[in-house]
C-alpha cells in the first residue's frame, strides 16, 4: 500500500530543483556582447520607426485640411436684384405716363413762375381734359367711397 510519506517523498524529489552542473563563471563575454548588440538593434529599429512616423505625420499635413477655414461668404442675389430693378423700371415708366397724362389734362394753368412752356389757352383746356379723361378712363366702380390697398413691390434685398 502506498503510504503518505512515500508520496511526499516522490513529490519532493520531483519538485526539487535539479542543480545539475553549476557554472562557476560569472561573466560570459560572448553572450553579453550579443545581448548588447540585440538591445542596440532593437533601439535602432524603434528609433527608425519613430522617425518614419514623424516624417509621415508632418509630410501628410496639407494646408487645405489643416484647419476649418471660416472665410466670410457674400451672397449676391442676382435674381432678386434684377427682379427689383425691372419692377422699379416698370413703375418709373407708369409713373412718367401718369405724370404726362395728368399734365396734359390739367384744368388750371400752373401757378409757378418758373414754368418755361407757354400756358395753354383756357379754351383748349376743357377739350384736352375731356379727351384725356376719355382716354384714361379707369376701370373703377362707381361707388362713392372706395377703400383700396395697393400691392407692394417685390422685396428688395440688398447686399
Amino acid at each position: 500500500m502506498i503510504e503518505k510519506t512515500f508520496i511526499q517523498k516522490i513529490l519532493r524529489s520531483t519538485l526539487r530543483r535539479s542543480r545539475g552542473l553549476t557554472d562557476h563563471h560569472l561573466m560570459h563575454p560572448t553572450r553579453e556582447w550579443f545581448a548588447g548588440l540585440g538591445v542596440a538593434l532593437l533601439l535602432l529599429i524603434i528609433g527608425s520607426v519613430g522617425c518614419v512616423y514623424l516624417f509621415w505625420q508632418y509630410n501628410t499635413t496639407e494646408p487645405e485640411t489643416a484647419a476649418v477655414v471660416d472665410a466670410p461668404t457674400t451672397i449676391y442675389q442676382e435674381d432678386a436684384v434684377n427682379s427689383a430693378l425691372q419692377e422699379l423700371k416698370a413703375r418709373a415708366a407708369r409713373h412718367e405716363a401718369e405724370r404726362q397724362r395728368l399734365e396734359a389734362g390739367r384744368t388750371t394753368p400752373p401757378p409757378t413762375e418758373t414754368e418755361v412752356t407757354p400756358e395753354p389757352s383756357p379754351e383748349v383746356i376743357p377739350e384736352a381734359a375731356t379727351s384725356t379723361a376719355t382716354d384714361t378712363q379707369p376701370k373703377v366702380t362707381e361707388s362713392e367711397a372706395i377703400e383700396s390697398t395697393s400691392t407692394e413691390p417685390g422685396t428688395i434685398e440688398m447686399i
Binding site: 484647419a67 457674400t74 422699379l88 418709373a92 389734362g105 384744368t107 414754368e115 372706395i146 383700396s148 413691390p153
Partner: protein, 174 residues
C-alpha cells in the same frame, strides 16, 4: 566582476542614459515645432481664403455698382428726403390743378421686422379723372413704397376728394 568591468558597465549605462535623454529631448523638440507648423499652416490657409473672398467681394462690388445705386435711390435715406419729396408732390399737384394737403407725416417701424417707413397722408381734390390719375401717379412713384390705405368720395361741389396714405421705405443703415 573586477573594478575595470564595473567602470565599463557604469560608463556604458551613462552613455545609454545620455543617449536616451537626448533622443527624448529631440523628439519633444520636433513635436513642438510640428505643432507650430500646423498653426502656421492653418493661419496661412485662413489668410489665403480671406484674401480670395476679399477679391471676390471687391469684384462683386465693382460689377454691381450701377445696380446698387439704382436700388439705393429707391429708398429714402432719412426723414429729410421726405421734405423734398413732399415739395415735389405738392408742386406737381398744384401744377395739374389739384388741391392737395398733406395731413400726416411720420416715421414708423414695422411690427414684424426692423423695416422703417416714412408714412404720409395726402388729401387731394379735383375732378374725378384727376383724382384717379393722381392716385395712380402716387401708386407708381419710383420708390420702394406701398399704399397703406386709399379712399375717395364725392364732395358736395361736384369735385372728388381722395385720401391716400403712402408708405415709403427708409434705407436700412448698415
Amino acid at each position: 566582476m573586477n573594478s575595470r568591468t564595473k567602470k565599463i558597465f557604469v560608463t556604458a549605462l551613462v552613455f545609454l542614459g545620455a543617449g536616451l535623454g537626448l533622443c527624448a529631448l529631440l523628439i519633444s523638440y520636433i513635436h513642438t515645432k510640428g505643432a507650430k507648423l500646423e498653426e502656421y499652416t492653418a493661419a496661412l490657409t485662413e489668410k489665403n481664403a480671406k484674401e480670395a473672398a476679399f477679391i471676390r467681394v471687391t469684384r462683386l462690388v465693382q460689377e454691381t455698382e450701377t445696380e446698387r445705386a439704382t436700388l439705393s435711390s429707391a429708398f429714402f435715406t432719412d426723414e429729410s428726403d421726405s421734405i423734398s419729396f413732399l415739395g415735389d408732390i405738392e408742386r406737381f399737384a398744384q401744377n395739374v390743378g389739384l388741391t392737395l394737403t398733406t395731413n400726416d407725416l411720420d416715421k414708423i417701424t414695422a411690427t414684424d421686422s426692423a423695416a422703417e417707413y416714412i408714412t404720409m397722408t395726402f388729401v387731394y381734390s379735383g375732378d374725378r379723372q384727376q383724382v384717379i390719375g393722381f392716385t395712380k401717379y402716387l401708386e407708381n412713384i419710383p420708390y420702394h413704397s406701398k399704399i397703406d390705405s386709399f379712399s375717395y368720395t364725392k364732395a358736395q361741389n361736384g369735385l372728388w376728394e381722395g385720401t391716400l396714405t403712402l408708405l415709403i421705405s427708409l434705407r436700412a443703415t448698415p
